[in-house]
Structure formats: structure tokens, C-alpha cells
């Protein structure tokens, strides 16, 4: 059975058509898994996030109105499931202390990131503590404001800003460590 467009694919998924569900899963599994990896503590947890997220997608697929891209809707649903899991974790906010003096003077973080490949950025973000990278990912990659992040994660707006600030500092440091040439460029 073929599904020429998203509408027919969604319609089939609504009818619990396993083939259609598999097509949808296979189409989005890689980007969703990588997104989950950014929020997960380990690959196994990312698998679990993806699993639960896709269950939610198939349960709620009838709510997809077709007004936007199917991929965007699926991503939002899975992200919400991921955030639900994160909220349940105790003490997930990162409080790692990064001494100011250890951070060398460096160019602007965005400027540094512009020079890196996608996979390199992913690897750097993945190394951040869980709280930092959660807020960092939501802020930069999901384009959410601090107010919304605070609401999504059940934290204060100040905590969101603080985590992002620390994330940026930690990322800068990581860049310096992994790509030392930046020190000389500054």
C-alpha cells in the first residue's frame, strides 16, 4: 500500500493501519531519535523517549489538522512527551560550577558555532549537563522563550535564564577544549 501524500498517510494511521504507522515511524525516526538524544541521559533513554513519543503520536494522530507540516507536528508531540519525562526526574537542573577564571576570553559563542558542522555542534551539546542542554535546546533549537521554557519544565523563568547562561559558558569551554584553535583566533 502506498501513501501518496501526508493526508492519506494520516488517514490510514487514524484507522490504526500498521503499514501506514510503520511508514510514518520510519520517515521520522532518525531526526526524532537525535532530538531525543539531546534530552536523554543515554541512548537507551532516548529510545524510550522515542518509543513513548511515537505511541502518543499514533494515539493523537486524529488531532492533526493538516494545517502545518506533518513532521513539525510529530516533532512537537514527541518533544512534549520528552519534556513530561524530564519534569518527572528529581533534581534534573544542573548546578555544576564552572569557575569564571577557567573560561578563556573567547569570541562570541554564535560566531564559534557558525564554524562547526552540525554533527560537531550535536556532539558538543550532548556533552553538556542535562539541565543545561535541555534549556539550551529548547531555547535555540525549538525557539522557545524563557517564559515558555519555565512553563514547560515547571521551573522559574530565572532558573531558565540561569541554566542557559551556564550552558553557554560550558559550551564555550567545551569548544575551547575540543577546538583549541579558537583560543588563538580570539
Amino acid at each position: 500500500m502506498s501513501f501518496p501524500d501526508d493526508t492519506s498517510l494520516v488517514a490510514a494511521c487514524c484507522k490504526q493501519n500498521r503499514e501506514a504507522q510503520q511508514v510514518l515511524y520510519m520517515r521520522f525516526r532518525t531526526p526524532l531519535y537525535r532530538m531525543c538524544l539531546r534530552y536523554a541521559r543515554d541512548p537507551q533513554e532516548a529510545e524510550d523517549f522515542l518509543h513513548d513519543g511515537m505511541l502518543k503520536v499514533f494515539a493523537d494522530i486524529g488531532q492533526f489538522r493538516g494545517t502545518g507540516a506533518l513532521g513539525g507536528w510529530v516533532r512537537r508531540v514527541v518533544l512534549n512527551v520528552v519534556l513530561q519525562h524530564i519534569r518527572k526526574r528529581p533534581h534534573w537542573l544542573s548546578e555544576e560550577h564552572i569557575p569564571e577564571k577557567e573560561i578563556p576570553s573567547a569570541p562570541d559563542l554564535d560566531e564559534q558555532l557558525q564554524t562547526l558542522q552540525g554533527s560537531q555542534i550535536f556532539a558538543l551539546v550532548k556533552k553538556l549537563p542535562i539541565g543545561y542542554r535541555t534549556v539550551f535546546s529548547l531555547y535555540y533549537l525549538e525557539q522557545r522563550g524563557h517564559k515558555e521554557i519555565a512553563s514547560l519544565l515547571g521551573i522559574s523563568e530565572g532558573a531558565s535564564k540561569s541554566q542557559l547562561y551556564k550552558a553557554r559558558r560550558a559550551l564555550k569551554q567545551a569548544i575551547m577544549e575540543h577546538f583549541p584553535t579558537y583560543q588563538y583566533r580570539s
Binding site: R34, D110, L113, Q117, G118, V125, Q143, L164, Y165
Partner: protein, 489 residues
Amino acid sequence: MGNDLHNTGHWSNRLRDWEQNGFGPEPALDGWDRLAQAMEKKKRRRPTFWWWGGGILLVGIIVWGITQLGTNEEERLNTAAISSDFYPLTKDEQLVDLYASNADILPKNKKYLTTVPADEAIQTAMPSIGKVVDQHQIIPLSEAEITENIIQKKEMPKPSSVKPLPTSELNQLNRVYTLPKLSLYEAPNMETSTIIPGSTEYYVVSTDVKSLPLQPLPEKDRALPEVGKGPLGIDKVSLAIGPWLGWSRPTIELEFPDEAIPFQSKTTQRVRTQGIGMHLKIGGHWGFQTGFSRETERSENQFFIPRYYRPEREIIDPTDARATLTYEMDVATSYTKTSTEIEVERPLSASVPTGFRLLFGMDVEESVKITRIPLLVTYDWAISGPFQIRLAAGPSWTNQRVQTDLSSRLTRVNGFRLRQTRLRSREQLIKDTYWTAMAGVALIYRPDQHWEIGLQPQWSRNLNQLSVDRNLHATYNRFHLQSHFFYRF
């Protein structure tokens, strides 16, 4: 940091592009298989809800069946070794003629004009021969008062000439009212002679009704609904409110008992027997229970607007209001006639998260000399996480020798659109051995194999009494602590 930080140029897009199409980590290959499996499992789980619903329905049917057991007259008579005239006198609705009465009520006065026609001696002695069990005493009035109060002399004969009135005559009376409580006294000497069907003894009760200006209903309004049916054919609407685990169970009931009282509101706060106790089970399967119980009852009836004559204002007769409150403190010693209770419970099979098991028990209640041996089949069903539903049902062998105060109450409106109420109370010795049925459902919280907390309502039926027991128990290994609430209806 403000919104300008969203302005990340292209690096975030590059990351997203890489996540979409780049070479890198991939999810496990069996991801779809696991997903499909999970969805299948979810799909298959649906029928368990039907099983659950079916189980609840089954328990409901069992409970309903138990409640119906007591309505079998023959069975009651066979199972209760009590005086044979007890049930016929209190349950047999052929007695409608026994208290044929017509009355006008002055609600605030509560002073009833009483005449007993056939035997002047009984009439005179009546207030004293019976045990008054209600706050409303029947006050014999003088003949002058009777004459004064009987407005329709033609239809309301004088005491010396009172005879059973045929229905046709009663229907012609201008003032026919309901009398909520007519025979509220115990009159043991009169039982056989006067309280039998076809008796000529009539208690004619009347009061001054001058304060209630009445207007006859138009003829067309006199059409009566089917006896025993209210609006939409409903006999009774009952609403129970209040905390189920609290000290009381207030109920509001609307009854449509008969043609003469089209609408009756009854507010009852009734707990016949109420107990709280501690059950301590230490080691083995032996346990001891003690506590105290309280009995209280308060009810208030309101009767509205008789059919034939509509007063200008509502008649609300609170004469049925009564309250009793007794306390009983039990002490757990073997030398007192109190509610020392020894329970032995022996599960015949291991407790399981989901599955059947048998529970065999013995329950000796010293206060009423009841020995009960239940054999229950329980079904434990792990519903979610540490929560379990436990359904239990089974027969119970019971031997009892009860010296108890039985009271029964019959309220009925007879064909004359009059109301009769009997309240009988007497000491009875009930000796019997019989089988009864028990059913219960419990919600169990069992986080691990060592301890559990459970809430367990349980219904059981013995003799003509329906018991609702509610147990709250906590068990840690062999230690069992139980709080016990029970109602007996």
C-alpha cells in the same frame, strides 16, 4: 540574554539539517517491532476493562441477590426461629384494614383525638397498656372535645357508635387526611385480638383543623395515580449523600408510596449500628478486635398535600421525626458480654498480584454469640502499579444465638387514603444456624510483598438483616491493623 539570542544565524539550522539527514547515531532497528508490539498489547488490554466491568456487575448482581433474599417471606420464617406472628404482623400488607383511620391533623398541636369504638375499656386503657415508643403520645380526649372536634358529625360517628366505615363512606368524608403515625405504641395484649385482618377495631383520629382552611379539589383532580407509583411510575427516589466512611450516612428520599400521598419527602440520617474498633493480628492468623459502637437514627418525614383537599398552605407534618442515640463501649475481655471478636483467617493459597485464591476464615463474635465461617473466593487483580482490586464472594456458615431487640416498622397507606404506621419493638431470642452469602470488593495498595493497605466494603446478609461492613486495614507481614466500620440495616 534576550530574544536576540534566538538570532543564531545558521548553526541551529545546520544542526537541524544534520539531525534530519546527516550521518550519525540511529535508533535501534527493532524500534518499530517494539512499538507495534506495544500498540497490540494496548489494543488487547481493552477487553480487560470489560472483564473488570463484568466483575463489578457480577458483584452488583450478587449484592442485589443477597438483598433480595430477605424479601422471601417463607425463607425468613424458616431461617428465623422467632415468634411466628412477628413477620405476618409487621410485613403482611393484608393488615391495611387494621388501622383504618381518618384524621385531620393539626401539625403543631400533635394532639390526636382518639377513639376506640368496640371496647370502652380498651379505649380507656390504651395509652397505658402499651409501651410508647415514640414521642407522640396518643391522648384520649373527652367526649366533649371529640364532639367539638368532629366537624362532620354525620360522617364521623361518636365513639360509642363507631363502626368500621365502608370505603364508600370514608371516601365521602370531607376531611380525609393522612395520619403519618397512628399506632406508635406497643400493645402486646391487643395483638391477637385487635391487630388481625378484618378486625372491627378502628382508631379514629381527628384534630382541630380550623386553622387549615381547605378547599375541595375539583373533581377532575381527584383522579388518582396507580397505587404505589409516583410521577413517571417511579416508586422511590433515593439519594445518599455524605462521607461514605464518615459517622453517618445522610440520605434524602422521595417516596411515592400510595395514592393518598402523592409526594413524600423523607430525610433520614440513619446508622443503625456503627462501630469503630481495632483489629490486631499478631503472628499466625489469630487476631483480636475491640472497639465501641454507636447506634443512632434520626429521620424526618414530610408529607405534602393530601389528594382530596388542598389546603391553602402546605401541610408539613414533622411528626415522624425521631432520634435515638445509644452508645456501647466494648471491652475486650472474655468475661463480658461484649463484642470481643476472635477472627481466624487462613488464606488457602498465596496472595498473587492477579489471580484467584481461596480464603477460609472463622469469626466468633461473642457479644451476640455468632460464629461465622466464611469460605471466600477472592480474585486479586493488579490494576496499575501497586494497586489491586480484590473481589471476594462466597458462602458463610453462621450459627447464632442472639438476644436482641428487634424492631420493625411498617408504613403504608391503605385504600382509604390513610396512612398507617406500626413500630414494634420486642426482645427476641434468635437461635439459628444458616448459610448466608457474602460479597465484597476491596481496593488494595500493595507496594511490595511485605505490606498492604486496603479498603474493603463488604455486604452480607443474615436473617432479615443486611450488613454492610467496611474495613480499612493495613498489614505488614504478620502484623495486621484494622479499623472496622459496619452498618446493619
